[in-house]
């Protein structure tokens, strides 16, 4: 083979390797997932405060209403701020995979909450079986886009562990949802209420799952640099 052609092939291979490596660095998007977990953590505290006020002061308290509305507002405003902040931050990195992931998560998180708020306003008032079923289905609007986004993340980043975890959780969620098992929730200061175990699992995933996903990308990014031996070309300079 001509020496020039061999060198050209070598250089193209090097350029390709370096660009692929920069595209596989997800350390910049990792804080986004940690942020999502933190927003859900804050929302969970607000939710517990709402139950506490409801248990101690009563249903009619304006605090219950404020915390109740605040729970949804914290999430939707938090997601919008996070999305806008990271859109700007990731724009300069030109990392197409991270940018694609951010768009998917932004659309699903913000979009699902817009639908949830719309859905809650459309559900008629009352306490019969049909309305209870409609209330139970509300959680599907939250979790189905998340499961889909998790699968997309696993495929885009080529991390099998994320895809496997998403698959395991989707099966577990289906079992919990169909079992219709309930558990006491918001018991601080009184009896609290009963919520479905599947709904509780969503809270766990949205807080601890998201923080774990963020840490996974952050730690993964740190380890990634050691996977390749590029000393061979750095020594030639």
């Amino acid at each position: 083979m001509d020496k020039n052609v061999a060198l050209a092939l070598d250089d193209i291979s090097l350029i390709k390797t370096v660009i692929e490596r920069t595209q596989q660095d997800f350390s910049k998007i990792a804080p986004f997932f940690i942020g999502v977990g933190m927003i859900n953590g804050i929302a969970a505290i607000v939710e517990q405060l709402m139950y506490f006020c409801r248990n101690t002061i009563g249903y009619g308290s304006s605090l219950v209403r404020i915390f109740g509305v605040g729970y949804y507002l914290i999430k939707i405003i938090g997601y919008i701020i996070l999305f806008l902040y990271f859109s700007r931050k990731l724009k300069i990195t030109n990392n197409e995979i991270s940018n694609g992931m951010l768009k998917i998560w932004g659309i699903f998180l913000i979009g699902s909450y817009v639908f949830i708020i719309l859905y809650m306003n459309l559900i008629p008032m009352g306490n019969n079986d049909q309305i209870v079923t409609l209330w139970r289905c509300k959680e599907l609007l939250e979790i189905l886009p998340i499961i889909f986004a998790l699968f997309m993340t696993g495929i885009l980043t080529q991390r099998k562990l994320i895809t496997i975890c998403a698959a395991c959780y989707s099966v577990l969620y289906l079992i919990l949802f169909m079992s219709m098992k309930e558990m006491p929730f918001g018991t601080i200061g009184g009896k609290g209420t009963l919520i479905s175990v599947s709904s509780f699992s969503i809270r766990v995933v949205m807080i601890f799952g998201m923080v774990a996903l963020g840490l996974f990308f952050r730690i993964g990014a740190k380890n990634h640099g050691n996977k390749y031996n590029t000393r061979s070309f750095s020594n030639e300079a």
Partner: protein, 96 residues
Amino acid sequence: MEINTIPEAFQTKLRLAVLSALLTGTKSFKELKTITSATDGNLGIQLNKLSEMEYLTIEKAFVNNKPQTTYTLTEFGRKQFKEYVELLESLLSSSE
């Protein structure tokens, strides 16, 4: 760009790796070090040379009270890189 007039910036693997990494956006010294696995001294010298040749710009700032140096590919650098890749492509297509 001709085969006999390839700029100095593309004649070493480390410089080529640095320019390829900067093609996807601004990078810090630490990031470039991770990508290239080069030593601090070697990488620093090559970055300064590329800066002297106006292929990249160097920006020094303080982030969380720590000095951070970032490197960005200039328009000239991007144009030269494109021409170099086109040269490589033409070399390969002519050999077929």
